[in-house]
Amino acid sequence: MTWRQTKDAPFYVGYLNAVPKQLVAFLVVFSVSFAGGLGIAALALSSTQNDPGDGGFQWGNRFENAGIMELRPYPVLRVPADGETPARTYMLAGQGKRGAFNQAETHENGSVTLRGVPVKRGDLTMIQVGRVEALEEGVAGFTPADPVPLGRWKLTGEICDGKCYAGAMRPGQGLAHKACADLCLTGGIPPVFVSSGPVENRNFFLMADKDGNLLGDEINSLLALYVELEGDVERLDDLMVFKVDLATARVLK
């Protein structure tokens, strides 16, 4: 069949209900192939999506702990050792794409009881803060440890927002998620560096600038890309903090 209309070739006119017989079989085969092709494409595209990881909200494992609120420089809760469990430091976030700065500033360096929902991916835990109550009597005998410097490191990986990466969204990383991550960080969610190589067996790091202060819009152009960063790493209980020198930042891909 070609483009040319000949005397004997079927001629289709849409508003005439009778379709030429020679075209009926072709159109039926095409219709079935069209619907079937879309179905196969759906199966192929959907079933081969990348694994978003094991992160997620731990709704059945509510968080409730007493500890000390600090800004390092993002809100964290320092929790004392308990039996065989060593002291821990939890990153904090608010509801939705909001940080927990209001609560942390109100109770900075104060003892509190914090209730919330953990968002957990591997050994990265972010607490979505629910209720914070001051503990007037303090946490008995607890003085948070000073950060332990681990030296200067050059790391490659991705800057994510700590809450989505932890599992608030699955997937919660990559360029398709960049605008969301940007919005989360603007809202006060702590930025997390997900490294391709570990430091003391940890692959994620709470980020701060090289002087330990909050990061601003200067990380926006690096967000969600595969980058190389250099800076000082320190350990705060079980939480790694990466004080990045953004002047050394390099986009790898």
Partner: protein, 355 residues
Amino acid sequence: MSVQYTPVIWNRNKIFYDAVLLIAVALYLYIYIRVAPGYEDVTKPIDGAILRMRAFGSCAFLMLTIILCIGPLARLDRRFLPLLYNRRHFGVMTAGIAAVHANYVLTWYFNFSPVDRYVALLSSNTSYGQILGFPFEALGIAALLILFVLAATSHDFWLSFLGAPIWKALHMFIYAAYVCVVLHVALGALQGAGDPIFTSIVAACVVLVSGLHFATGRMEARRDRGEETAKASLQEKGWLVAGEIDEIDDDCAKVVTLSDDERVAIFKYEGKLSAITNACAHQNGPLGEGKVLWGCITCPWHGYQYNLTDGRAPAPFTEKISTYRLKLIGSTILLDPNALPPGTHVDPVIIGEAA
């Protein structure tokens, strides 16, 4: 054809067309959202909103790809012409599916924030100076706006109101929309962790659309070269040799190319010859690839009809197109290349009464 504007003039073929479309789209979405996740190799399921966002987004991309293939396929092979007949419903449905995708993006990635979601959409990523990390959402917005405008102006009212040339030019923006969509996907979803199937399907779609348009362009150019029979006649000054009577089937036409934008269709019917412009007044459909039905030239795209001798649509319709004068010397057809005003009556040339 209709003399009054109604939202949709339904007929059995349109209903069948839309039914096949709806079934195919529903099947795609059902398999993507309900069936395929059972075969995913994931530790924990992908978020439902993101899954649906991907399902509707990829569906809109595939639909747009198919829409852009229909035109060249129908040029290459007449059997695909029925797909062209109701293509505007395909386009409107695609705009709807794309809008659902956008709504999921807006109510998921740009929600749960103190910033208004529309403000967040436009302001959260402004790295327009870089390729990797480019705010690909802006490309999606541009494509969606184009699809909305095209869907809103797809009705024949707008075709009549704007006139065929402006309407046609406006609807050529579908290509701009496709470029935006391809870049939207390439700079967004394709930048995730390697997914060879997704990458292959997107690449295959782009190659298919480009390849079909290239092949059609070559075919048209070859046809134009083959039809350049309209050369200055030695016998009759001012007339062009258009071909031989035997080249034309009964009730069919031969198309003669006068210039890049002017073609003439010479029809043979009931022992007579008449010439009219090749462009249908409706959507510039190729009348010369149509047929004479009930004594009228019938466009192969949407069935618009014109009288053979004056280029006027039969009453009560009002469309009219240019006619041309013909002359017959022996079995050779001569054509006066000067188009007459649309609707001008020209007596047909009677075969057998040649000079």
